[in-house]
C-alpha cells in the first residue's frame, strides 16, 4: 500500500502580518513558519494507518514551496512518514490552488497511491480546494472534512463533520483522497530518537516547472488589515489598571454586574 500526505507550511497565525510590496500577499520577513494545523492531523492519520497495518504501507510526504518548507517536511518524517518530495519553485510569486493541485496531481499520477491525505484547508488562505482538486485531476473518489477515518480491505469509512454537531458516514473504495478536519485524532510530538532517524530519510527535490505549467486562474490584491467595524475600545496598561477599567465599563454598559 502506498500513501501520500500533502502538507503546507504556513506562518504562525499569531504573527503580525504586513502586506508585501504589491499587496498581493504578506511580506515573509520576520514571520515564523510551521506546518498547517489541519495537515498535522493528516500526517498523524496516515502514520496511524501504517501502524495498524504493521508498518507495511509506505508514506510519502509532499510539500510545495521554497526551501523553508523542508522544516515542515522533516517534522512529518520524524512523526513517521517514510520519504519526502519537496516541489521547489524558486519564483516566490504566489501560486493559487489550481496550480498547486496541478503540480501535486502531475507528481502523483504515475505513482499509484492507494490513499491521499490532505488538510481540509490551509490556515493562511483557507481555500479548502487543493485536496478535492487533486482528486478530480487524478480521477479518484474523495470526501472532505473528516473527523473519523477507518480503513479495511480497500474501503475507507469516513465520518464527515457537518454543521451544528451533526456528522455523516460515507464509504469509498481506494484509491481515494480524504481531507482532514481539526480533532480527527491527537497528533503526536516527534521524539528525539525519531527526529534523529528522520535525518536519514530521503527527500527528493523536484522543480515545480517540470511538473506543471498551468497558468493561475485567480489574481490576488489589496492584502490588508480589515477595517474596524465595531466601536470597541482597546485597553492597554498594567494589570491592576486594566482590571479597574474593565469593572467600571462592565458596571456602566452591562446589566450583569451590580
Amino acid at each position: 500500500m502506498k500513501i501520500l500526505v500533502c502538507i503546507k507550511q504556513v506562518p504562525d497565525m499569531e504573527s503580525h502580518f504586513r502586506p508585501n510590496g504589491s499587496a498581493t500577499w504578506f511580506d515573509e520577513s520576520d514571520l515564523a513558519f510551521r506546518m498547517n494545523e489541519y495537515d498535522e492531523y493528516a500526517v498523524e492519520e496516515a502514520v496511524r494507518l501504517k501502524e495498524q497495518l504493521g508498518g507495511a504501507p509506505e508514506i510519502t510526504v509532499l510539500s510545495i514551496g521554497p526551501d523553508r518548507v523542508i522544516e515542515a517536511i522533516k517534522k512529518a518524517l520524524a512523526i513517521g512518514c517514510d520519504c519526502a518530495v519537496h516541489i521547489k519553485e524558486p519564483d516566490v510569486a504566489s501560486k493559487e490552488p489550481w496550480q498547486i493541485a496541478s503540480m501535486i496531481a502531475a507528481y502523483a499520477r504515475s505513482k499509484q497511491f492507494d490513499l491521499v491525505f490532505t488538510g481540509m484547508q490551509s490556515q493562511d488562505r483557507g481555500s479548502a480546494q487543493v485536496g478535492v482538486l487533486v482528486a478530480e485531476l487524478l480521477g479518484i473518489p474523495s470526501t472532505t472534512t473528516l473527523v473519523g477515518f477507518a480503513w479495511a480491505d480497500g474501503v475507507v469509512t469516513a465520518t464527515r463533520e457537518l454543521e451544528g454537531g451533526v456528522k455523516s458516514k460515507v464509504r469509498l473504495k481506494t484509491p481515494a483522497l480524504v481531507t482532514c478536519q481539526l480533532g480527527l485524532n491527537s497528533p503526536r510530538y516527534p521524539t528525539l530518537p525519531n527526529i534523529m532517524k528522520a535525518r536519514k530519510k530521503e527527500i527528493t527535490t523536484l522543480q515545480a516547472g517540470e511538473l506543471s505549467s498551468e497558468k493561475p486562474l485567480t489574481g490576488s490584491a489589496a492584502f490588508r488589515h480589515p477595517e474596524k467595524r465595531g466601536s470597541g475600545v482597546v485597553l492597554e496598561g498594567s494589570v491592576d489598571e486594566l482590571v479597574e477599567k474593565v469593572l467600571v465599563i462592565l458596571k456602566d454598559k452591562t446589566a450583569v454586574l451590580r
Binding site: S127, A128, L172, G183, T218, P226, V239
Partner: protein, 302 residues
Amino acid sequence: MKLLLVGEYREGRLLDTTAELLGFAAAISGDASLFLVGSAEAVPAFSGTLYLADAKVYGEYNPEVHKQLLLKAVQEENPDLVVFVHSSYGWDLAPRVAASLKLAQVSEVIGFAGNAYEVGCCNAKMHRNVTPLTSKAVITIQAGAFPALQVEGTPSVKVLSTDAASTTEFMGYEPAEARDVNLAKAEIVVSAGRGIGKKENIELIRSLAKAFGGELGASRPVVDAGWIDHGHQVGSTGQTVTPKLYVACGISGSIQHLAGMKKSGFILAINKDKDAPIGEVADVLVVADLLQFVPALTAKLS
C-alpha cells in the same frame, strides 16, 4: 450577471442557507436561477428557473453524481457565476465543478467590488481581494455574510436526471451529541481558548466564570485537545450563544467561533495580541496576558 445558486437540502429539509444565496443574488443584482438536489415537495419560493433533481434517487450527499447533475444545469443555463454556500456541502462540491469546467474558484466570499471578491485570510486577521481570471467563475459565500432574503414566487421547474455512477456510498447521519451544559440560556458565558496554554489553566477560566455567576464555554482547540468536553464548545460546530456578557479568554476570533457568539450583548476579550480578529466584534479588547489578568479580575469580583 447570470447566477446559478446551489441550494442545500439535508435530512429531508431545504436548508435556511438557501435564503442567504438569494440575499447574495440581490446584493450583487444578479439574475438568479437555482439548482437543488432536493424534493418537489420542498421547493423554495422564488421566481426563476429551478433545476431540480430528486434526492430520493440521487442522495443528499453523493458528490460525483451531484457534480454531473450540476454540470447539466450549468450547460443549460450558462451562468457567469456558480454560487455555493461555504459549508460542508459547498466546499465539497464547488472544487469538483470548478475542476471539470476549469474555472477559477474563490472561496468564502464576504463582499465584492466589481469583478473582485473580498475574502478573509490568515485566520480572519487579514483580508484580500481575489479576482477570477476566467470569464466565468465558481464562488462559495461565507455563511452569515449576506443577509437571508425571503422572496415570493413559484419557480419554473426543470427536472434533471443522470445515470452517472456514484463513487461514494452514503451510510447515514449521526445526530449531534446530547449536551450536559446549556450555554444557550446562560446570561454570562466565559470561554477559554487555546491561549490558556495548558489543561490546568482551564481552572482559571472556570473560577472567573464562577465569580461572574456564569457558564464556562470554550473554543474548539480546547475541546479537540481533550481539555474540556464538547458540550462547552461555542461556534459553528458547537453551540450558538447570545448571553448579556461574553468573555473570550485567549480566543483569536476565527469566523467559526464568531458564528457562535457574535450576537452576544456585550463582548469582553482578553488577548495578548492587539491585532487578534476578536477585536472586530469585541466591545472591549483587553491587551494582556490572561494568566495575569484573569486571576486579578477574579479576585476583584469575588
